[in-house]
Amino acid sequence: MTLTLALPSKGRLKEQAIERFAQVGLQVQLPTDPRSYRGRIEGPLPIDVVFLSASEIAQELGQGSVDLGVTGEDLVRETLANWEVHVSIEARLGFGAADVVVAVPDVWLDVETMADLDDVAAEFRQRHGRRLRIATKYWRLTQQFFSLKHGIQVYRIVESLGATEGAPAAGLADVIVDITSTGSTLTANHLRVLSDGIILRSQACLVASKRARSDEDAKALTQVAKLLA
């Protein structure tokens, strides 16, 4: 068998991943047909490459249908229940840095910390006849952070698959949990990250599936991980 590696299929993440592999002597041969989603790394460590969207990569790694993948830590932790059981993070690759954060309308002058938000959430139903609403595509990370870490039980998640930062102004949610790299999108939308509202500092990672594999493949996988660590 040959190892399979899933790389992001487009954008900066794709370029940076290919570049990072090239730096350690693993040249990704891009498909000659630009519409194809398969590539190859030749040499002493031959690897089949598939190009997928970053969230699909997390999914496929969890199911064990690829051996290795490059994807964000946020997507690994969000997409997979008990992620440590199914995959391991072999290397943090130094690009694609972004934080998953809790942000509130900047005009909420009285809300600076999660404890403040806890206060607001607790009284929200009584004041407004509904629970505090959080717009996010990060269900799992939001629940873990609010419920398990901060003991905040009473809120509702509103699924948001794009332009989450616009949800408060659109009246769809009160606060958001979203990913941000520079914070400029949040600022432009008059949102502010809580002082203890950083859920995860994420970056692109080399992730290995914990599926069973031959000794030979396992050795090759360890070598690739060592090169990129």
């Binding site: 309308p105 909420w108 600076e112 607790a122 629940q143 419920s147 009473v154 408060p168 102004a169 008059h190």
Partner: protein
């Protein structure tokens, strides 16, 4: 007799009818009441029209909803017996539960005692030779301690929410002893806050909302934000006195047999120089009523720190375990806010319990 037969005959002996609760339930009431954390633990699905449905994760909420919908008279007791469905538990996904919900009984102390006694008799019938241990807690007593200590309302609420979770309570107390540093809001706002001018501050917030395209009517209102900011500024200047900390610590460490609990609480109140009369009176009436029921009185322990961090629990909470087993066989409590939150027009008090029958069945296998 099988376990189910034993339980149904207990219900019949009490003269309580069985509630009919469909397995497929609208999911929103559960998520609204118990919070999003429940989402990971229930089985969700969708109807063709997009309505969120779930497999019944428990009985209390559907029984209450049905009671409200039928505008049934009170007081009324409902019994149930059937499967509940949960994910991510140590074993399995289907569990058999039975229980009794008691809605609208005005004599709260009597109703509490009857709920504990019903649960006790049910377990006794199912496990005649098993040593059982009942633990009870009471949020109302904690609430009255906080009020008697003269804590600002904001602090009372925060501590109350943490009741039942030692880690959360620790974190809240640490914050109160040493409030986190506040960011600077700029001199113009700071001046309005210092003057405690709610109206001016609300005006400022509303103007900012309009500038930034946030509707002042959709969520938190300008007045709400202004008021809380001013409250917070005042709280930041107050420190919790050492004696108050010590009193809280003392209170939370009380663990005595229920029969001795009224005296222990009175002694605590006297030593800390706190007036807890109303809450203690209720507590003593309930303790007496439990004593009058056929519950083995030395099997009942009062633990002052025992609570459940859910906002519809209001007073009594209790659990029953087999001796030397950490898992509870019965969980119960008083939920006087639940029916209003579910849409009842008038307040309806409620108390109830549920039994984890699979755990009981497992014990029936091992005890003689």
């Amino acid at each position: 007799m099988t376990l189910a037969e034993t339980i149904l005959s207990r219900f019949a002996a009490e003269g309580i009818g069985l509630a009919e609760v469909p397995i497929l339930q609208p999911a929103d009431p559960f998520l609204d009441m118990a919070g999003e954390d429940l989402r990971r633990r229930i089985f969700l699905t969708q109807s063709e029209t997009g309505e969120s449905l779930c497999l019944r994760p428990e009985f209390t909420i559907p029984v209450c909803l049905d009671h409200i919908a039928r505008q049934a008279g009170t007081p009324r007791r409902y019994a149930y017996l059937g499967e509940v469905f949960r994910q991510q538990r140590d074993s399995g996904t289907e569990f058999l539960q039975a229980g009794i919900e008691d809605l609208g009984e005005a004599d709260v102390a009597q109703a509490d005692a009857r709920s504990i006694a019903d649960a006790w008799r049910l377990l006794r019938a199912a496990l005649p030779n098993q040593s059982l241990a009942v633990t009870i807690g009471d949020q109302a007593v904690f609430e009255s301690v906080l009020a008697a200590l003269g804590l600002p309302r904001g602090w009372q609420m925060r501590l109350l929410r943490a009741f039942g979770s030692p880690a959360m309570l620790q974190a809240a107390l640490a914050d109160l002893a040493n409030p986190p540093k506040r960011r600077s809001l700029g001199t113009s706002i700071a001046r309005i806050v210092a003057a405690r001018d709610v109206e001016a501050l609300a005006g400022f917030v509303e103007a900012r909302m309009n500038e930034t395209g946030l509707s002042p009517a959709a969520g938190r209102s300008p007045t709400e934000i202004a008021r809380r900011l001013i409250d917070k500024a005042e709280l930041g200047a107050v420190r919790l006195a050492d004696e108050a900390f010590e009193a809280l610590r003392q209170f939370l460490s009380i663990r005595v047999p229920l029969s001795q609990a009224p005296a222990a609480l009175q002694q605590f109140a006297d030593e800390a120089d706190l007036v807890l009369d109303t809450a203690l009176e209720q507590f003593s009436r309930r303790a007496e009523a439990v004593g009058a029921e056929a519950v083995e009185s030395d099997a009942v322990l009062y633990d002052a720190s025992f609570g459940r961090p859910l906002d519809y629990y209001t007073g009594l909470v209790f659990e029953i375990r087999a001796e030397n087993d950490a898992r509870s066989l019965v969980g119960g409590g008083r939920y006087d806010r639940l029916l209003t939150m579910l849409g009842a027009a008038d307040p309806i008090p409620g108390v109830g319990f549920s039994v984890w029958l699979d755990r009981v069945e497992a014990l029936r296998g091992v005890t003689p």
